[in-house]
């Protein structure tokens, strides 16, 4: 166990922290609402290689980042509430790079060279519609499974953007018939499951970043704000809740890093750990933003105060996959599957 980032990891974190500080300041986050997409930020991310870094080194344009590297980036992404579907684009690019077909390679070339945005549906379509697909309101294509086939569907008139709590770029997507699949057969389900596991681990890291910043806002506020002649942070009723929040946050961060690390180092446990990290980070981000907003008093629910930006996203980001209760059931299933070998 070594919880110190390597010099390379630290460099990566520093680089993205300063990119987001410049290109995803809270004024930019606010002005991108309600659609939740900042095209300039996306161009900057894309030009800096934030998408192609996710592609394995041996593939064209591959940056060769590990899932742990991507988790460190995702933490900064979440911390700055970045209005761009980076995690979805990274996960979709990793999946496409596994296909090794002419069509997928051509798409990846466009992703790499012209910042083409390809996203991924997190849930299987029902009755010909993939619902609440993150990034789909602004992406050019969406990767989506249909039965035993994997489609890479161009997005156009077939999408309906959905206004939502977290100002995410969500859309419902209709699946036309007669589209040629990019993959078929048994590997579809494997590719698909891995992509969702990766999305869970990276989203966990993003939620950790979001929650960390929300907790800082609360701590700063209760150190300044006075009531009954003392600063609010003096009260145990406040301080002890924040201690619980800080503890859960550290646990969520360790678990998110461990899950991302496990993809290479403990692959047998990766499906279980990615789900654990996602469920725990979802729950923790909700708790922390609740208490942070609560300790802001009435100001907390005012639109002008920043904590509401974190509060809404803490709930919406993970909800488009599933709630923690459902994820906990998946974990039990995955433990059973692992025990049975």
């Amino acid at each position: 166990v070594d919880l110190q980032p390597t010099p390379e990891q630290q460099q990566l974190v520093d680089a993205f922290r300063s990119l987001y500080a410049k290109e995803s300041a809270l004024e930019r986050v606010r002005s991108a609402e309600p659609g939740g997409f900042d095209a300039d930020l996306w161009r900057t991310l894309s030009d800096s290689g934030a998408v192609t870094m996710a592609i394995p080194e041996e593939r064209p344009y591959g940056g060769g980042a590990t899932l742990l590297d991507l988790a460190l980036v995702a933490e900064q992404h979440g911390r700055h509430l970045a209005p761009a579907p980076l995690i979805e684009a990274q996960v979709a690019a990793r999946l496409l790079s596994e296909l090794e077909s002419n069509a997928s390679d051509e798409l990846l070339r466009q992703v790499a060279e012209s910042g083409r945005l390809v996203t991924i549906a997190l849930r299987r379509p029902r009755a010909g519609v993939a619902r609440l697909v993150p990034g789909a309101a602004v992406a050019s294509e969406v990767v989506v499974p249909e039965g035993g086939r994997l489609l890479c569907l161009p997005l156009d008139a077939n999408r309906r953007p959905v206004a939502n709590l977290g100002c995410m770029q969500l859309a419902d997507v209709e699946l036309p018939t007669g589209i040629d699949p990019v993959a078929t057969g048994t590997r579809v389900s494997q590719l698909w499951t891995t992509a969702i596991d990766e999305w869970m681990a990276l989203s966990a890291a993003a939620l950790v970043g979001l929650a960390a910043r929300a907790l800082e806002l609360a701590v700063d506020y209760v150190k300044e704000r006075a009531a009954f002649g003392v600063t609010v942070g003096t009260f145990q009723a406040v301080a002890h809740r924040l201690a619980d929040c800080a503890t859960a946050l550290d646990g969520a961060r360790l678990l998110a890093y461990e899950a991302a690390w496990a993809q290479i180092h403990e692959p047998r446990r990766f499906p279980e750990l990615s789900a654990m990290s996602f469920a725990f980070a979802s729950q923790t981000a909700r708790e922390i933003t609740y208490w942070s907003m609560h300790f802001h008093g009435g100001y907390g629910v005012m639109v002008e105060y920043d904590i509401q930006l974190y509060f809404r996203r803490a709930r919406a980001w993970p909800a488009v996959l599933a709630d923690p209760g459902t994820i906990y059931q998946w974990i039990a299933d995955r433990r059973r599957a692992r025990r049975r070998g």
Partner: protein, 387 residues
């Protein structure tokens, strides 16, 4: 960032499992269960033969110089097996304080015997009127020729009935602020002035009240300077608080998963397939993982040469509070059968019935959750001290 425990720690885990499967006999567990005493001389000797009593200590002090992660992994396995370790851990807490602050004579006399498991040291810290406020101790120590005379009472002095010494926090000066008039002593128990009275917890564990009536202790068994006992406690408490309950959650999880997969409901399915049961298995497993990670982080901080104050408090707070939540939740999921108590004086070890009893104390001893939250808020978040 790397989460692998390393080859050495993996080897420790494998060795510990096979050792425990053999050394922790049903007779030994039954005896622990009956007496409530988590100290066993035979088992302690078996650990000693492997150098597993204080493996993290340097070789000059009788250890093996293991790194903290190896020590942590061994502790996880001992805890998962619920081996009789309380007597060893209080002895090592006191011995760790001696290593930092004891005289050369004290180290020479006490440390080798502590590491060989030949002596037990119990912790005489809290009192009937103190609770978590240890500095409020009223037990008096007054000078008496070349030594000291001790009068007063100590509470929850676990293993005092098998201890050779009690590490006593006593008041040597009542006329100064409470933190400035305390001194610590290693009081021998084989004297008429020390009387031990049994107390039982609801989970069947035995602890004690200790009465000191003109008990004597030579000045050479004073630990640290006179009236500087609170700084000795600062060191000792850091060692006491490094414990986390992740392995206890894993025991509960094993019980729950076994129950879930071996119990058939009215529809002929295993209860593990019930959504509520399944979700709680996932949640318990997740919290156990977090508790283990927080505990390993504490070990990692120690490995980097720092005292893991806030990190230790977080591990203790999270793991004990999670254990309580899990035990309560499983108690509900088991339905009416959860109340059954199959053995005396309390339920089968690792049963939910036993965990309900056991978990409750975990948020109190070693510093209550409120004490831990105060440490995290003040030292970790930089909030003002609160009351």
């Amino acid at each position: 960032v790397d989460f692998s425990l390393g080859h050495d720690a993996d080897a420790v885990r494998i060795e510990a499992r096979s050792f425990l499967a053999e050394a922790l006999t049903p007779e030994l567990k039954a005896r622990m269960h009956r007496t409530g005493t988590h100290w066993n001389p035979d088992f302690t000797q078996r650990l000693r033969e492997r150098g597993w009593i204080a493996p993290g200590w340097e070789e000059e002090f009788g250890g093996q110089g293991w790194d903290p992660l190896q020590v942590q992994v061994l502790a996880e396995e001992l805890r998962f097996a619920f081996a009789p370790m309380y007597g060893i851990s209080t002895t090592l807490t006191a011995a760790s304080a001696l290593r930092h602050l004891g005289t050369a004579k004290q180290k020479a006399e006490v440390l080798p015997r502590a590491v060989r498991g030949e002596i037990v040291i119990a912790l005489g810290w809290t009192e009937p009127e103190c609770g978590s406020d240890l500095a409020a101790a009223k037990t008096r120590a007054v000078r008496d020729r070349d030594g000291w005379r001790i009068n007063g009472q100590k509470m929850f002095t676990t293993n005092a009935h098998v201890a050779d010494y009690i590490f006593v926090l006593a008041r040597t000066n009542p006329d100064v602020p409470k933190h400035d008039g305390l001194t610590t002593f290693l009081v021998p128990t084989d004297q008429p002035g020390v009387e031990v009275q049994e107390l039982r917890t609801i989970s069947g564990e035995r602890t004690n009240i200790v009465f000191f009536g003109d008990a004597r202790v030579p000045d050479s068994y004073r630990v640290g300077e006179v009236d500087k006992g609170w700084s000795v406690m600062g060191v000792a408490l850091t060692y006491e608080r490094t414990y986390a309950h992740g392995a206890d959650s894993l025991r509960l999880l094993r019980t729950a998963e076994t129950w879930g997969e071996s119990t058939i409901d009215d529809a002929g399915r295993t209860v593990a397939e019930d959504p509520a049961v399944s979700a709680e298995i996932g949640r318990t497993a997740t919290e156990a993982e977090v508790a283990l990670l927080l505990g390993r982080r504490t070990a990692w901080v120690a490995e980097t040469g720092k005292l893991p104050g806030v990190e230790g408090s977080m591990a203790k707070l999270f793991s004990s509070e999670a254990l309580v939540r899990q035990a309560e939740s499983w108690f509900g999921l088991l339905g009416p059968d959860a109340v059954r108590c199959s053995t005396e004086p309390v339920g089968e070890p690792d049963s939910v019935e036993e965990m309900i009893r056991f978990a409750q104390a975990s948020t109190v001893y070693g510093g209550t959750s409120e004490i831990q939250r105060g440490i995290i808020a003040h030292r970790g978040l930089g909030l003002p001290r609160s009351r």
